[in-house]
Symmetry: D2
Subunit: 350 residues, 4 copies
């Protein structure tokens, strides 16, 4: 297989660092370019980035020079973890300049011609790329996005239940890790011995994005799922791992055992399963009374699975459960990487 040369936009940030960590030793991709805000342009990556991961910064990347976030960039495709406000124009500029842009940013997620892709759930949404390129008059470049960190953790079990029984509504309450806010992000005075019951913009993403992910591709557009969602989002004193309490209303009756079976047997298509970063089990079901827990379960399947536990009847809706996802792995850099692997494996990079 061809080895693709990869650039990272927003390379010094929390998610940018995860990209670098996950791409180290990757069989298909190699980081050849790093870009960040203009003020670090020209600096050595190892000097400019405050590396905050417990695995060492790869020496080869440390020696790369930071480029500004505009084309051209010395690579075949780019991963983007730019902040929402600057992602919109920058990513479009790279796509227009011929680069496939695999983005973790929110800017283009809900655009009708941009796939909000989760290979295990909606691999067919990748077909939007053709329409996108045609409508926007782009040749080789295009935009593909992955969902918000919380949304992805939820999307896998919601998809499993939707496929098996139909999901009519879901009530979500999240307890989200501080790494989700980047660095410096959450002030320690705000979170030590505390919970913050608010994350700007988060509830609306969680209430919206799953409807596109679970939507049906009709011709060249995605018909949003009629699923209704309500979210309460909270920040808690956890380093990594978003935990979600979910109560779900199904379209079709199902016992707790049925629900567990649907979750545990959920698999994506063959193409998704064999990707280098794909989890063997996209959903890991735990049967202990007190799991999943962020510290103990976030790294299952290398952080690429949704871990579900405490499946039980819900007195108001139908079934309730606890869901955990690693927010900076599967919820961010890992999601984009899996998307890139899927696009590579299905011949979207030419």
């Amino acid at each position: 297989m061809k080895r693709w040369r990869v650039g990272i936009l927003g390379a010094t940030g929390t998610v940018g660092q995860r990209f670098i960590q996950l791409l180290e030793g990757h069989p298909w991709f190699a980081v050849t370019a790093v870009a960040a805000s203009d003020r670090s342009e020209g600096k050595r990556y190892g000097d400019a980035a405050a590396w905050k991961l417990p695995t060492p910064l790869p020496a080869r990347v440390a020696d790369l020079t930071l480029a500004p976030c505009r084309p051209p960039l010395d690579c075949d495709l780019v991963f983007s973890s730019l902040p929402g406000e600057m992602a919109g124009e920058t990513e479009a500029a790279f796509a227009a300049a011929g680069y496939p842009v695999i983005s973790n940013s929110s800017a283009h997620r809900m655009a009708p011609d941009v796939p909000l892709l989760v290979p295990e759930i909606n691999p067919d949404h990748a077909q939007l790329i053709a329409a996108q390129q045609r409508q926007r008059d782009w040749a080789r470049g295009f935009l593909v996005t992955n969902p918000n960190c919380t949304t992805l953790a939820l999307a896998l079990p919601l998809a499993a239940l939707d496929r098996a029984f139909g999901v009519e509504a879901a009530m979500i309450s999240t307890m989200q890790a501080i790494s989700g806010a980047g660095y410096p992000g959450v002030a320690s005075l705000d979170i030590l011995d505390n919970v913050i019951p608010y994350i700007a913009g988060e509830e609306s993403k969680v209430e919206t994005e799953p409807r596109k992910i679970l939507g049906r591709l009709v011709g060249e557009t995605v018909e949003l799922s009629p699923l209704r969602l309500s979210a309460h989002c909270h920040r808690v004193a956890v380093t990594d791992g978003h935990l979600c309490a979910a109560s779900v209303k199904l379209r079709q009756a199902a016992t707790v055992a049925d629900v567990c079976a649907a979750l545990e047997s959920f698999r994506g298509p063959a193409e998704a399963l064999s990707l280098p970063s794909a989890p063997r089990r996209p959903i890991v079901l735990r049967r202990e009374p007190d799991r999943p827990q962020p510290r103990l379960d976030r790294d299952l399947e290398q952080g690429m699975a949704s871990v579900v536990g405490r499946v039980r009847e819900d007195p108001l809706l139908d079934v309730k459960m606890t869901i955990l996802g690693h927010n900076t792995v599967r919820g961010a850099a890992g999601a984009a990487l899996l998307n890139a692997e899927f696009l590579a494996a299905t011949g979207r990079f030419t």
Copy 2:
């Protein structure tokens, strides 16, 4: 007013310590007896108790000698914070021996002839005492209970909404403080950089107790409220203060402004308002986007209020909000103390 002599059952525990703290300098009550497990019988309280509150242990209480948890005890009434499993028999024995028992334990809460009393909400439930004494053939003694720590935080706003619009259903997700599990309680390895999505017995209490609190006194029994509840309970790394995300379905349409007005104007009866430990505002409404927060808001109204914030429309039910209560003050010792004050003020101690 007469000054009542008070005994504390379970005096060395977390809630027992709060009783002692809150009763220090109380205008009506003075601690004259402390009782705990048999193995500390005969010890000086100051030597036997691992005092864990930041205010000093009152010297006079430190010098009391621990009695065993059985009558007689040198006092006019007892506060109980015994663990559930031993509370049942012990509290009944004290009541049978002529002591009013003001209990924070769960053992008798749902017994049909025992008030689950919140003075601002259901002061009339105190009328169950007469039937209780008659049925159980008790003369001076009786049992009165207060709700579970989480339930109490929820009960005040649910009562306000129920009174104004009727509440049909509520979906609750809690983030509960470690002090709720007593001492030593939650192991630090279980909660640091973590959330535990399980608290034994808690969800069923939260789904049940509010129905009795909001129930209607019909003759000598309480008719449970038809309100339906679903709870997800979590333990988080917070010392004090239970935070709850609540989505509520009302029986009658109401705008967010209506809901805020109903919460803010909620008051108990005159007798409740003037009690020494009564909060001036039983419900404190915060209008900032990111409040209430445990560390910043748990001590409002000396920890005796429910603090509510983020009132907004709910896409699934009708309205959603965040609710905070101080779990060892209003959620435990403070609730019992307010009940005792109410009973004293209404002539129940003779």
Copy 3:
């Protein structure tokens, strides 16, 4: 007694908020002016400040309008908690304009003509004011400083030991609270499940300031104490309260009992003892094997004492102990306030 009108420089910061909290209801001082960075000039204090204390922001202060940090200001004297880099010029400008400046900033602490004042230890250092005014040609205005947060916690027990036995050297290792870094200050990703073994500039302050505090006033200068100090400073996941491990070499032999007696009997001069904010015991000695602890002991004496425990022999030097001080009360705003009270009581404000 006259009531002094007080302005606060740096009023929106962590220490500025403590000033406002501690001055609420003060018998001698009333906040009449608040000043902060130019970009908040003209805003209502309650709108501009992110109030982070668990007691409510006093309504009267909330309604004050923020002035820029330059004279004139509508007050008789100013408290300053400006960051070091801007404190130097700004404070001097206020003093030159006739305002007594009671500063918590580091800028002028080591200036030979500026008192580094701790009323219980070196009240005579206030005599530097006369020389300062003469040399700098200032009429009514002057500068008085208090030590760094860690230094103050250490200075009280070091002074007690120095007075009783002479202190030759001290080895210090600190575990400092996050509130010491202000807001937003320490990033939560840096401190959760972590310790940071570095605080910029802190070790040199701790190794230097005590020598001036314990220095001897000779004529119009302070002769630094020959005491030698070595400090290791660490940031830990504690909201308030700096804990210090101290090993001390004495000039004169002393048993552990002697040392405890010297600590416990330490008092400042009569003028210091009777000030409104003075701790009854400047040093609180704990005899339990595992105290002091930040969460349990920081609020003793309203946060105005140094709490000392675990006094024991040191195999290398002479005696070792654990010392705790509340870093934003006695270690910052409270220290300045006590200095102001001392200056008021001794007729320095005219």
Copy 4:
């Protein structure tokens, strides 16, 4: 190489779990027996142990049946992480019954005929085994111990400095992780927003054990090093990783650069270097101003190194630095495992 069958005493505890984790897939050792307290005898390991590590419990070990802690046990040698009070007799009984006992417990560490072994430092101390077997009349069995968790982290850099310059004295202040206290161990109410300045027995271990480790083998006894130590031990809110501030007095003058060079070049003997669990660098030197930090550096060299940083001059002694060790890896199970590998490689298991 022969594959040794290994039993674990205290297999359900925190260190026992680390043994199982580290031995999974080990090239020389396989776990064939697990033993714990009598009350779990006969239970399946997977049912009896509350597995608290983020990597999954190996299925083969989960299916082992727990034996009581007395010989015989189905294995060639045993690892012990028994609590001190029961380790003394139990370990001796296993050694007497012919089992090499590689112990992490403190019971026998200071016994004159028991090696307190660190392969990089004192491999020759293994020669005590012969005398031990002769004196105690044991045939195949023997006892070998590793140091206390904190001691080991310190011992590597102290040995490096002692070898290069001689170490006369060291002042140590520790900030220790909660995992060091086992499970349930430290109560969360004691450590959240807090530091505990006391760990029972710890300071005396840290002040004593390094003297044996750095001691000189003379004939069949170890002459304790004349090094003098003083320790302040604290528990902080960190999951894994003990951080130590160390000030060191050298026998021979050395610059900071000399000290860094001695630390960085420190290696054990060839036999130690090539062991499967040996760190490539026993001491990792960090040159950033704010490292090492527990969360970022504890896993360097798979948790088998001491990480040293902030090397600088000490105003009282000669040099000061910050030292970090992973307390349950190199500080406990990993130390014992490395000892076992060293003993296997040098033919001590027959």
